[in-house]
Symmetry: C2
Subunit: 245 residues, 2 copies
């Protein structure tokens, strides 16, 4: 296994950082490497807002349920799906953008995720730690207002970056046999494989929490999808110009 594979497999989310601020140059280099990821039809729908203003970081941390690392990380970035730039380009070329298509939403969201993950690999290769902050979608309107995002732009997720001040274990993943299949989707052998993974996860949580957390993947999933989750997203996106037609 080469060093890049080793780097990728060593990933874990970092939620505690030293107080070292990352330089503009460092963040710019990381984002530049991120943007070298593939982009659909050269769309480049990614816009990244680095949030430096401490008050804004406090507000965003509140939105995200009080995640302190948003305030303390060496850098905090909001990754946005941006079709506003596309609209301006289309109009500059004398066209009219047909907006609100579901496909556009899919393409723009994927574009952002590919670029962000590339940036994450770039950051981790420099010894930095990262944590994605999906919880900015708890109140994406407040985040959009703080960052003055125009229509046709939405904040997909946040990203904390910085020098790690903790060294957590790598979280075990589902067995590869469950995830990678040949030619057809089948799940005949899955119950046994997932039962084994559930045991692995129970042991992982016991070890990580000193025995206070007793959960497993199957139970986590029930907690995650039994009930509505961020039900405001549909209307929020529609108001931003992503009507999902």
């Amino acid at each position: 296994m080469n060093e890049v594979h080793q780097l990728l497999r060593a990933h874990r989310s970092i939620r505690k950082f030293t107080d070292e601020t990352l330089s503009d140059r460092m963040v710019s280099d990381i984002v530049k490497s991120g943007l070298c990821a593939a982009t659909s039809s050269n769309l480049q729908a990614t816009t990244v807002i680095r949030v430096k203003d401490p008050d804004k970081r406090v507000r965003i941390a509140e939105v995200a349920g009080g995640q302190r690392s948003i305030e303390t990380a060496g850098a905090f970035l909001v990754w946005c799906a941006d079709l506003h730039r596309t609209r301006r380009a289309c109009e500059a070329a004398g066209g009219t953008m047909t907006s609100g298509m579901t496909e556009q939403f899919v393409i723009a969201t994927i574009d952002v995720a590919l670029a962000a993950q590339n940036a994450v690999v770039a950051a981790e290769s420099m010894g930095l730690g990262i944590c994605y902050i999906g919880a900015i979608r708890n109140d994406p309107q407040t985040v959009s207002d703080l960052l003055e995002l125009p229509r046709d732009v939405y904040p997909v997720f946040g990203l904390c970056l910085g020098v790690p001040d903790q060294d957590p274990e790598v979280k075990p993943r589902l067995p590869i046999e469950v995830v990678l299949k040949d030619d057809v989707y089948s799940f005949d052998d899955e119950p046994q494989q997932i039962a084994e993974y559930d045991e692995t996860m129970r042991a992982y949580y016991r070890s990580r929490t000193g025995g206070t957390k007793a959960s497993c993947w199957t139970e986590e999933m029930a907690g995650l999808v039994d009930g509505e989750r961020r039900p405001h997203m549909r209307q929020f996106l529609a108001e931003r110009g992503f009507e999902m037609r």
Copy 2:
């Protein structure tokens, strides 16, 4: 700039491969490293179908507008957003999945994209070339039927992997000043920066096509979003269980 940054910045899509098939072990290692990417709340919504059946690859190439590399690449993978596994887990734990939420669609799609981009970096670190195939969404129902995807699963994109048999230039990206902003979304200096990028892209296309292609980013964007694009996506997704509520 370290070697990982250099690797990321050397990315270009490869559309011509030698006839070397990638071993199961190699593909498994690549996908395993991919799956080490962050995943929202440990959801792990990614399922990867490796398409080995030559007939299926011919059919998928047709769907994708005749992209021959889908038939000839050393491996062809379809990356799927999978909430069917989540549903089974939820039910196994005695719960009932609330499906069709827009937020679930966003989370699952991002999960897949992060894992795929990690896998791409892993593959490129081994000297392989890749090309994302968004065009499987030209007819995602046919792809779903071929791969026997159940409800709550949709094919996000394809991925060709293999030993490169071409050596194209790296495609220039938008200037970092356009993409990375501090604290607020602003675009005051953008017209000038984008005009310069348009010139860069004209030179790139002239050089790559021997002068036959004369286009630039601004014109490309007009071609891309002036008019409907894959208008079937909304209904397709709704029928798969992604109703976007």
